[in-house]
């Protein structure tokens, strides 16, 4: 189930971050790559989006396309080798000593049926963040939607998409942003140990230092943190609850501790 489909240096050593945009993926990447073995880029590679048409080609309903002679296994191996060759090229530039690669494009959640096949051995980390904060951050971002309801709806769909495909992921962890902010060292230590990586005191100290860094901020002035949605108007909160109230409730975000 969790074996890599191809002989590759990143077998069992790929981390795929799943989250909607503005959930803190860059911050999590910064924390993950504090470990000397891990590396990854802070911009979005969209590598699985780039490969998705090939995947669709192999599954054409009209009988045309690569299915005429190419097995699923051959396609899977080819795509995996492409990914890992690109990751290795990236690693060679940004952190040549690293042996793991972190892929954190937010839209990865939407391509889980593909990723689950090419990367069954990967460590999937679903970064869950309060949809109200995500919606607030999305609307503030230059490339985000203008409407809080639409932003929250996008977040909710992303969460549902991860839930729907979770069964395919042998190594899956859900990490709550709010808990990570509260105690980044403990949660990151737990995450690293889950992946079989050691955390020494030096790394723990570096994690604590890096956790406070501000990342991916669009128009904001505060530091990394949770609960910024409280700055929103009542109207904006109504829009968010209308679009994503059920998901927020299911994940406890409307409980007293958060709400």
């Amino acid at each position: 189930m969790s074996y890599a489909p191809a002989q590759t240096e990143f077998a069992d050593r790929t981390v795929v971050v799943l989250a909607h945009s503005r959930s803190g993926t860059s911050w999590l990447l910064n924390l993950l790559t504090t470990h000397p073995a891990l590396c990854g880029i802070d911009t979005e590679s969209n590598i699985f989006l780039a490969l998705n048409e090939l995947w669709r080609n192999r599954h054409r309903p009209d009988g045309e396309g690569l299915l005429a002679y190419l097995s699923i296994n051959d396609l899977t191996v080819a795509m995996r080798e492409f990914c890992d060759a690109m990751f290795a090229a990236s690693r060679d530039v940004i952190k040549p000593d690293a042996t793991w690669y972190v892929e954190k494009t937010p839209d990865n959640s939407l391509f889980l049926p593909l990723i689950a096949v090419t990367h069954p051995d990967a460590w999937f980390v679903h970064l869950m963040r309060d949809g109200r904060d995500v919606a607030r951050s999305l609307v503030a971002a230059p490339m985000g939607p203008d409407d809080y309801g639409k932003a929250a709806g996008e977040w909710a769909r992303n969460v549902r998409w991860v839930e729907r495909n979770e069964w395919q992921l042998a190594r899956f962890r859900r990490v709550y942003y709010e808990e990570l902010v509260q105690d980044p060292v403990a949660h990151m230590t737990d995450l690293f140990q889950w992946m079989g990586l050691e955390v020494d005191p030096k790394l723990a100290a570096a994690l604590g230092e890096r956790a406070g860094h501000e990342v991916m901020r669009f128009g904001g002035t505060g530091r990394v943190g949770a609960g910024k949605w409280r700055e929103l108007s009542e109207r904006a909160l109504e829009q968010i609850l209308g679009a994503a109230g059920d998901v927020l409730a299911e994940y406890g975000y409307l409980d007293a501790a958060y709400g």
């Binding site: 860059s26 880029i41 802070d42 911009t43 979005e44 590679s45 969209n46 590598i47 989006l49 780039a50 490969l51 998705n52 048409e53 090939l54 669709r56 080609n57 054409r60 009988g63 045309e64 396309g65 690569l66 005429a68 002679y69 190419l70 097995s71 051959d74 396609l75 191996v77 080819a78 795509m79 080798e81 492409f82 060759a85 690109m86 990751f87 090229a89 990236s90 530039v93 230059p142 490339m143 860094h213 501000e214 990342v215 991916m216 901020r217």
Partner: protein, 315 residues
Amino acid sequence: MRPDVILPEDRAAESPLSGRVVFLVATPETGAERLLRGLAALPGVVAPPVPTHVFSQGLGEVLDHWVSGAEMINRFVRRQPDDGTLMGFRMLSGLTDPETFLSHARTLGDALLLPGFGESDGMLVEYSPFHINNVADIVTLYPDSHIVHVVRDGRQVAARLASPLYMEENPGEAARRWIDEQHAVDEIAHHPMLSAVRIEGLDADPTTALALLAEAFGIDAGDDDIERAIAAMGDPPPVVPSGAAGAIVDIAGADLLAKYGYGPEQRDTSTRLAAWAHLSSSAAGSFARRIATEGASSVVERARAVASSVRRTEG
């Protein structure tokens, strides 16, 4: 967008498929499938049983996820004001340099095509209907492959494309497709591995045409092989009345018809007038505007004048 460089020659030479792939590019109803069958009958040549769509639904998309040039990168990527880190959509260009990317993309492409050879250690010939719009992608990743542009009289092609089989909206759309797709090949006009085959010429003298193609591809084909290839091609389709779509090609694709050596076609006045009217009508507005921007504004003006006179006559 794709990288602004192509796969280096020495890297292409390392590929197990170096010089072994022939891409036929053509608008549907041109006769490329017949040529494909003929070539696949030559010794050492194989062809996938169906269009692979490997570029139009696959490798083209991979190449399209490359962002070239500082200006484009700056459009998608913003720099963090406090610590200077980059953020945003840099796509695959965020991972490595263009040459390395193309090398890995070529390896991917080879892995997709190689099983199509089966046991053959010869050539693979491929035709997919939309690949004519991917010719620049093909050259970028497979500069060593042969690209054969199969051409047929656009009036005949458009007439067939205008049938309900193709779901083109109207004869104008069918005509536009043929015109646009032939122009798409202009992008690689100077590529040394590009050749053009007029299907009418092939049908007139298939022995010579197929022997020349076999020689160009380095295939050792004897007279019997060529005969088998001709038989595999089958008979050409009958010529059909080209109708409204053909009349529009006559006007809007006049440069292409001349370029590929297709002479004027007899046509009744009402069909010609209808074609002019179509070009000047609102439905074809974007088509006409495009023609205008490509340096044939006089065609649009003439179309409007003719349509106006038609309306006056009808009134």
